[in-house]
Symmetry: C2
Subunit: 480 residues, 2 copies
């Protein structure tokens, strides 16, 4: 493809993208295809000779769009949002053209340096304690991980290495494997599945602890668990506090958990994957009270801050534990400037990394902090608007406190009727929600997701839910 | 940013990109900035109000370009190539607009199904055994990982889980931790640093084995190591064979290693990160003889097949070991279509994933297999052209067999003189190389990297190397 072909193709793609996004409401949010739908639509082998880009463009509607779940639609209320914006797409074009791999500083100084500066900008936007920021001149600093799952795992591996070293000093006769067998980590039973998975990947025990009536992990519960485990000869080493759980967007009591973690000298990691974006608004920062006690903090601008996936921001007060855990330094990666700025390959699971800081830079500059705050506030207002609609209808109940952009609700009554309601909603495919369950109570999660979402979308979605609820209730044996 | 603003901005970025890439030879390949160069060029905080995209465009030359190591330049011969092409950039624009997260089939069926089909296309292009392909109707199939490091780790974790289960059947009285303490994995001492790192992350012993005179791991060496370890009571469970090492692009003897691995019932993973792209040309497939004995196979189209990072292709004959090792299934991720097509979240370390198969689809269609083969062959020919230039000059020697696109060479003489040569080459910054060392012999690695690279670039790079060599040799005490 020559440069002019590229310019034409990219221009046509920009047209396609704006048409797709600006008219996304008109598409059925959930596809109706069956598994395997695509196979008959494509050849079984790659073509030997090049095709025209015009044919590829045509195939997007023919092959791809029928199988797309439209995450960017205002009718999409499943999971949590995944972010997207025009400036981020253009930034990724540039990243794709430069196509450097930023595993060391010298491999592309701009790639490392912009990331350091952007994580400082972002940390200041959240008012993170200065111990997390590179600009403080201390050890702390930020890094872009691919996902929150990786951040949780990276912190766990750092905490594990740190504890193994500490225990070895006290018990030089113990092998690393003996120590690992005693290590135990903690999180709320409401923590994301990737937290439990980090324990599996890291080969350590993970205890998922009970929550209070508001689904929050409390300090006393953690303290009791740590005491029990120490009595059994185990070694507590890592705690994950979740700010904004996936099931119900509950916020663990970070202040209490932080006090216990610090007293017990275990690594405290904060997983604010979804809700962390809200902390750019001062009025939501009460939810992260106690963050100064954490060792690492993570949230995903790629969820709710208009930066395209993958951009998971992580800060560490002392990255040396992670760096030492991961460092395997061959000659072909050594360079003279070693040490003056981070070599980010030691901060993450993969070795290679794209120039992802460009997305942050473009979005922060082209929106500005005020518009990003406005965006967060508008989603929270829409969640409360939906909450009010649910509360007005006596057939429904709200099952968890609405704090930011998620409303958990259900029809009063059995789990079965709520399962039937969800099945009908998704079957109709006009809007898309996913369920959750806490303490055997099944409920529906309504997340405000799209950057195109407005009050009128909330009203439409609610109408759709009421319509499907009426159909389901009419079919109930006791409704006659 | 409104749709028209986006179209203008994207159009201007497309112009910038073509100007950048088509004239990339004119730029100094290595930047001359000092660590910290960017800090004074940027504000210390994000702007409160939005800026203009035109100002952001201007800042690319002012802030970013001075700190870029130009990986796409024909003067870049460091590491291995990282791929880039116009069709891949346009595919990423579409991926950024759809912005779905493909962690389950239902989360966007097209995202999963295109990946299944593209990995079949690609597997057929390499003539992989059908047991690796989804289209064979068996258990096998492919997945796009972010990097080869992750593929090595994923395979290791699958192998670990498989072996723990097997040993537990024989020794139900052993704890998982006791078993893990006995596990041992193997690779060549020439394997990539990420292989050793996978052992650290997975918490198991990794033995790096000696190689023969051609830097290949041989079957007998592996068999001896396994026997020794079994005698010590250890449990061999995982072998990584490297096809195209980073130091010298050596190819382990896969046929021998495969026979030993199968006989000893240890998981065999093939890491062909860089060189695997060459297997789309039949004349290079002798290098992967024995691949039918492997359990998993991985190479990076994002290195040498014109697909932008991140696109690391991995095939598994039986993904169930990995899936079972990683599976932590919460309700909000369950869906009815479960089981009929892969839920790729169980095949990888992160939970979330972008729509990366689009890049493969666009590039395979818009180049066609023949042009991709032509591209590989042109790079290999350029490597041999460089090799011939080195061999013609009696002051130099070639230190490893040139098989595909890497030439390892040095000045005859001390390591010091070669270190001085490399320092001078990179100091001048007209071309960029990195060193390596095997058995205390320091040498320079010359990789053909850029998609713009032509014979004339090879000639220029060689001229530059000769010039710097003359400077260095003139300074040697015994040259007077």
């Amino acid at each position: 493809m020559d440069p002019n072909g590229f310019k034409d193709f990219a221009g046509e793609m920009a047209n396609f993208i704006t048409n797709y996004l600006e008219n996304i409401r008109e598409r059925r949010v959930l596809p109706i295809v069956e598994p395997g739908y695509m196979k008959p639509l494509l050849p079984t082998e790659a073509p030997q000779s090049p095709e025209n880009w015009e044919d590829v463009m045509t195939d997007i509607e023919r092959v791809i769009m029928p199988g797309i779940t439209h995450w960017q639609s205002p009718k999409f209320h499943a999971y949590f949002p995944t972010a997207q914006s025009y400036p981020a797409i253009v930034a990724d074009m540039l990243s794709g053209a430069i196509a450097c791999i930023g595993f060391t500083w010298i491999a592309s100084p701009a790639c490392t340096e912009l990331e350091v500066i952007m994580l400082d900008w972002l940390g200041k936007m959240l008012d993170l304690p200065s111990a997390f920021l590179s600009s403080s001149g201390g050890k702390g600093g930020g890094v872009i991980q691919g996902t929150a799952s990786e951040a949780t795992l990276v912190a766990l591996l750092g905490a594990k290495a740190k504890m193994i070293n500490r225990v070895k000093e006290e018990h030089p006769e113990w092998t690393a494997n003996e120590i690992v067998g005693k290590l135990v980590a903690y999180a709320s039973c409401q923590a994301h599945s990737s937290v439990e998975r980090a324990g599996i990947l890291g080969g350590v025990q993970f205890r998922l602890l009970d929550v209070d009536q508001k689904y929050k992990l409390r300090g006393d519960t953690l303290a009791d668990a740590i005491r029990e485990d120490r009595e059994k000869g185990l070694i507590p080493f890592y705690v994950v506090a979740t700010l904004g759980t996936t099931c119900s967007c509950a916020f663990d009591n970070l202040e209490e958990i932080g006090a216990v973690s610090n007293r017990e000298q275990v690594w405290l990691h904060v997983d604010a994957a979804y809700a962390g974006s809200a902390f750019i608004c001062p009025e939501f920062r009460y939810l992260m009270k106690g963050v100064e006690r954490a060792d690492s903090f993570n949230f995903n601008p790629h969820k709710w801050m208009l930066i395209n996936f993958d951009c998971s921001a992580m800060w560490l007060k002392d990255p040396s534990h992670v760096v030492n855990a991961f460092n395997v330094d061959p000659l072909y990666l050594k360079h003279d400037a070693h040490g003056s700025l981070p070599d980010y390959r030691h901060w993450q699971i993969p070795l290679g990394r794209r120039f992802r800081a460009l997305k942050l830079w473009f979005v922060l500059r082209l929106y500005g902090v005020q518009n990003l705050q406005k965006y967060i506030r508008s989603h929270v207002a829409q969640a409360h608007e939906f909450e009010a609609l649910v509360l007005e209808d006596p057939r429904f109940e709200v099952v968890a406190e609405v704090v930011v952009g998620l409303v958990c609700f259900r029809l009063k009554g059995s789990n079965d009727v709520n399962e039937a309601l969800l099945k009908r909603i998704n079957g109709a495919g006009n809007i898309h929600l996913v369920p959750s369950k806490i303490s055997d109570v099944y409920f529906l999660r309504f997340a405000v997701c799209s950057r195109f979402s407005e009050s009128s979308d909330i009203q439409s979605s609610w109408k759709e839910i009421k319509l499907r609820a009426e159909e389901v209730l009419a079919e109930q044996p006791n409704s006659k």
